[in-house]
C-alpha cells in the first residue's frame, strides 16, 4: 500500500458500504485506491484470502464476487457498489466447501497451503455453476492458481472427486428440450 514519495495525508479518501459475507460493512475514510484484498484483511479482519503478488497472477487472494471467483487484489473496493463479496470465511459454512476441502487433502493437493483458500474459492464457484465439470472446464477454472508445491494435477483430481461425490442434483436442463435459435440481443450479463 505504501510507496516512496506517497503522502498519505494528502491521498484522496472516501467512505462507503461494502457487502461482505451477507452483511453491510461500513468502510470509513479509506484511500480510494485500496484494493478489496487490503480492505478485507486490514480493515474487516478477514485474513482468509492471502496476499501474494498484488498483480492478479497468483490467485491466493481469490474471493467470490456475486458468486464468481475473482482476484481481490485487482478489485477497487470503493467502486464495487452493491455487489456481494463472499470470502473463504463464509464459504466455509457451506457443506459443499467441506467436500472440496476433503478432496483436496485426499488428493495430495495441499502442501504449504498458502494458495489453498483461493483454490477452494475457485473450485466452489465452478461447482456452483457446473454440476459435472469436465477436465478442460476444471483446468480453465483453476488456471489462475499456479501451485508450485503440488502442481496442478492433484487439484484437478480433487475437484473431479468432489463433483462426483456430491448427490446428483435435479437440473432444469435435464427437463428441457434444446431449442436452436439465434442468440437474442439485449439484457445485462
Amino acid at each position: 500500500m505504501s510507496g516512496p514519495g506517497f503522502d498519505f495525508d494528502a491521498a484522496p479518501t472516501t467512505s462507503y458500504v461494502l457487502r461482505v459475507n451477507g452483511e453491510a460493512r461500513l468502510i470509513e475514510n479509506a484511500w480510494i485506491g485500496e484494493n478489496l484484498l487490503y480492505v478485507l484483511r486490514e480493515r474487516l479482519g478477514l485474513p482468509g484470502a492471502k496476499d501474494g503478488c498484488g498483480q492478479g497472477v497468483c490467485g491466493t487472494c481469490t474471493v467470490h464476487l456475486d458468486g464468481v471467483a475473482v482476484s481481490a487484489c485487482l478489485v477497487a473496493a470503493a467502486t464495487l457498489g452493491d455487489r456481494e463479496v463472499r470470502t473463504i470465511e463464509d464459504l466455509d459454512n457451506d457443506p459443499e466447501t467441506a467436500g472440496v476441502q476433503r478432496a483436496l487433502v485426499e488428493s495430495g493437493a495441499v502442501q504449504c497451503g498458502y494458495c489453498v483458500p483461493g483454490v477452494v474459492a475457485s473450485a466452489c464457484a465452478l461447482l456452483a455453476r457446473s454440476s459435472e465439470p469436465g477436465e478442460v472446464e476444471i483446468r480453465r477454472a483453476l488456471d489462475g492458481h499456479p501451485c508450485r508445491c503440488a502442481g496442478p494435477h492433484p487439484m484437478v483430481d480433487a475437484v473431479r472427486t468432489a463433483a462426483r461425490r456430491r448427490a446428483p442434483r435435479e437440473t432444469h436442463s435435464t427437463m428441457m428440450f434444446n431449442v436452436i435459435a439465434p442468440p437474442a440481443a439485449g439484457g445485462t450479463e
Binding site: 505504501s2 510507496g3 516512496p4 506517497f6 491521498a11 484522496p12 479518501t13 472516501t14 467512505s15 462507503y16 480510494i32 485506491g33 484494493n35 498484488g54 498483480q55 492478479g56 497472477v57 490467485g59 481469490t62 464476487l65 464468481v68 471467483a69 475473482v70 482476484s71 487484489c73 485487482l74 478489485v75 477497487a76 470503493a78 467502486t79 464495487l80 457498489g81 452493491d82 455487489r83 475457485s122 480453465r140 477454472a141 483453476l142 488456471d143 489462475g144 442468440p183 440481443a185 439485449g186 439484457g187 445485462t188 450479463e189
Partner: protein, 283 residues
C-alpha cells in the same frame, strides 16, 4: 458521497462525471488499473466506478453489425452466443490471463489499456470494427485499423480527454475468423487475427504486440486473396500458408531493441500467420 469516488447510474452521468473532472479514472473491472495502483505507479486522484452502468454491459444487433458494450467481460465475450457472432474475439477472450481476470476484465478496459498486451485490438483491426467514444458533446466512432500503430499508444490516438469508451461496433461476417497468441518471453505476447470472408478476395490480417498498436498486413492480405481459388475458396498451393507467414513478417517488422530479438519476433509472427491460415483454410 464525496467527489473522489463517483458511481454514476447511467451512461450520461458517467460521461458528465468524466467531463467535470478529467483527472478522474474510469474503473470497470480494475484488472488493468489495479496492478499499477498496487505497485504504486498510479495514484488515482478520483475514480468513476462503472459497476452500476448497466448499459455498458449490454449488446445488440444494429443492421449488419453487433454492438458490444464496453463493460462486457472476457468471460461473457467467450460465452457461446457471442462466440458464434464474433469468433475471433471469443478466441482472444479465452486466452486472456486467468479465470479470475477473465471474470472481471472488460473489452473497454482492454482497449483503454492499449498496451502491446491489448489482445482485443488486433481482432478489432482485422474485423474493421469501430470503437464508440462518448463525451457530453456526442459520440465519435473511431476505427483502430485506421490509426497509426507505430506512432505510440493507440489509446491516446483513439480517445480524447474526458471521453468514455462505451462500446464497439463489429460487422457481422460470414467466413472464418482465427486468433493466434504466442508468448515471446518477458511476459510479452504476439497476437494475430485473421479474417477470411466467404467472398473470394476478402482476407484481413492484423498483428498485435509487435508495435504499440495493432498493425494490418495489407500487402500480404492481397497476396493471399490472389491465391484463393475463385470457385472453391481454397488456396491453390499447400505452401501458401508458409509463404503468407513470411510476407506478413516482412511487412510487420516487429519492434525489439536487440537484433536477435527482432529476428525471433519475425519468426514468431511468420509462424502465427502460417498457423492461422492453416486453421482457416485447412491443411
Amino acid at each position: 458521497m464525496d467527489a473522489t469516488i463517483l458511481m454514476p447510474l447511467s451512461l450520461d452521468e458517467a460521461v458528465d462525471a468524466l467531463a467535470r473532472d478529467p483527472r478522474a479514472l474510469p474503473v470497470a473491472g480494475g484488472t488493468d488499473l489495479m496492478p499499477r495502483v498496487n505497485a504504486g505507479t498510479v495514484r488515482p486522484p478520483a475514480l468513476v466506478g462503472l459497476a452500476k452502468v448497466a448499459d455498458l454491459r449490454r449488446w445488440g444487433y444494429e443492421g449488419d453489425f453487433v454492438m458490444l458494450g464496453a463493460g462486457l467481460t472476457w468471460a461473457r465475450l467467450a460465452d457461446a452466443d457471442l462466440a458464434s457472432l464474433v469468433p475471433a474475439l471469443a478466441a482472444a477472450a479465452n486466452e486472456v490471463g486467468t479465470a479470475q481476470v477473465r471474470a472481471m476484465g472488460t473489452l473497454g478496459g482492454n482497449i483503454l489499456a492499449s498496451g502491446r498486451a491489448a489482445d482485443s485490438l488486433p481482432v478489432l483491426a482485422a474485423l474493421e470494427a469501430t470503437v464508440s467514444c462518448r463525451s457530453p458533446g456526442g459520440v465519435r466512432e473511431v476505427a483502430p485499423h485506421l490509426l497509426a500503430p507505430q506512432a505510440g499508444p493507440i489509446a491516446e490516438q483513439l480517445l480524447r480527454p474526458g471521453e468514455l469508451i462505451t462500446g464497439v461496433r463489429v460487422p457481422l461476417l460470414r467466413g472464418v475468423q482465427e486468433f493466434v497468441k504466442a508468448p515471446v518471453g518477458g511476459g510479452r505476447h504476439l497476437t494475430l487475427a485473421l479474417v477470411a470472408g466467404p467472398v473470394v478476395g476478402d482476407v484481413r490480417c492484423a498483428v498485435g504486440g509487435a508495435h504499440p498498436g495493432p498493425v494490418r498486413a495489407f500487402a500480404a492480405e492481397q497476396w493471399l486473396a490472389g491465391r484463393m481459388d475463385p470457385h472453391t475458396g481454397r488456396l491453390s498451393d499447400a505452401r501458401d500458408a508458409a509463404d503468407f507467414g513470411r510476407l506478413v513478417a516482412d511487412e510487420i517488422r516487429p519492434e525489439a531493441e536487440q537484433r536477435a530479438a527482432r529476428a525471433h519476433l519475425r519468426h514468431v509472427v511468420a509462424v502465427c500467420a502460417r498457423r492461422a491460415v492453416q486453421r482457416a483454410f485447412g491443411g
